[in-house]
Symmetry: C2
Subunit: 243 residues, 2 copies
């Protein structure tokens, strides 16, 4: 919850008073054509009203009326390893932060660094994605948007996450397997082909394409900049309809 | 993030204007002793300044200066099954909500309902508590306090959660095993004694007492009301030092 500090209320009182005093003095002068009188009224008003304004601000700070939360969303990037999920998600996250949105970033690799015991079998992956989805939904219910990037290969797990969230934006980063394998930035596809890694999505574990994602990014046709813009445009249009 | 709605800014403009116009008219009257003039200045000021005040509010709504967040805390209740964790935690949560704190409630039983596959072996319990702790820390980092109640029997797992959180308040609900077993509100101790449940904390799985909890509640000596008061008093004193 946000509360205003006393300093904010005081500075607001001063900036408002400067505005108000000039207006009052001008009005009095227009009516009376007496400059000294106008300045005296303005001066006394200046002193007395700063105190009144401050009291008015403190009172309103206690009233919740009209303090609106920007509606939070869970923006979930899914796709093969190397598809470009994290790159695009990082950029979307940075832009939302820049706009002052309350937003958290969750990334598959970072979360697995904290929980190294998380396995890659179907039930383990499924539970992992469900738990992250639960975390994301709890953040969203508390007014925090989430930018998540996880391979999240199973339709079931993603549908479960969707069911937990009020505003779920599924972004399928639909880079073809051949292209991901060509990039192979972490050398994982090579290891998976050699059998050094098991249950690797796209090689010996399936990727179930999202049936009805909010967005599908064809990164063969779109640059990173264009992909980011497409996500932000969707959010502006459909989710963050804040005036 | 909180933004003010236009309605809030408009209503604030009106309440402030009523205050200000009366003050201005009185001032002009004191100087001029001309009632009609005073009312005219007040009237014109009334109209023009509502607009100015509104513009001033909208401008300030864009400025983050002085919008302070109430510091969030993770309040973690640990103890045997039947110790009274959930009962006390529910009451603390309700009181924090009543005060307008942004707060989330996480309870062992509810979370296991959503994730029925979570087991009770040592590594499974450990991972479970760590993941919940991660969730709690993410909420806290985003300004949301957390009231969590989990048996969380292992010192290691709890220390991990503590390490993730900036303000961690460990509350040991230290009801003796004999008393928990006597209550046995869910009939679990009986089942565990008969061997129908395995890895039950206190029976065939250890409870490692917190070495240095922020609070230890002796529920043999304290009523629920007194326990709740003790937690709230601690929070007021040590954590939520908000004027």
């Amino acid at each position: 919850m946000f509360r205003e500090t006393h300093a904010r209320s005081v500075v607001k009182a001063v900036t408002w008073r400067l505005t108000g005093t000039v207006a009052t003095s001008v009005l009095v002068f227009i009516f009376t054509r007496r400059l000294a009188l106008s300045l005296w009224v303005g001066g006394l008003e200046f002193v007395s009203k700063i105190g009144l304004y401050w009291a008015h601000e403190r009172l309103w700070d206690r009233l919740p009326f009209g303090k609106r939360q920007v509606p939070p969303a869970v923006i979930w990037f899914t796709g093969l390893s190397g598809a470009g999920k994290s790159t695009i998600a990082d950029r979307v996250y940075a832009e939302l932060q820049r706009r002052g949105t309350r937003v958290e970033r969750l990334d598959g690799d970072s979360v697995r660094d904290i929980f190294p015991a998380t396995g890659f079998t179907r039930p383990e992956r499924d539970q992992h994605v469900r738990r992250i989805g639960y975390l994301a939904s709890k953040l969203a219910h508390n007014g925090v948007s989430v930018v998540a990037s996880f391979v999240s290969p199973y339709e079931d797990s993603r549908q479960f996450v969707r069911s937990l969230c009020d505003q779920f934006v599924e972004v399928h980063v639909a880079t073809p397997l051949a292209e991901c394998e060509r990039r192979d930035s972490k050398g994982l596809y090579e290891k998976a082909r050699r059998g050094e890694i098991r249950n690797f999505t796209g090689i010996d574990d399936p990727y179930e394409e999202p049936t009805n994602p909010e967005l599908r990014l064809d990164t063969a046709a779109l640059s990173v900049d264009e992909s980011v813009s497409e996500v932000l445009a969707y959010l502006d249009r459909q989710v963050l309809k804040v005036k």
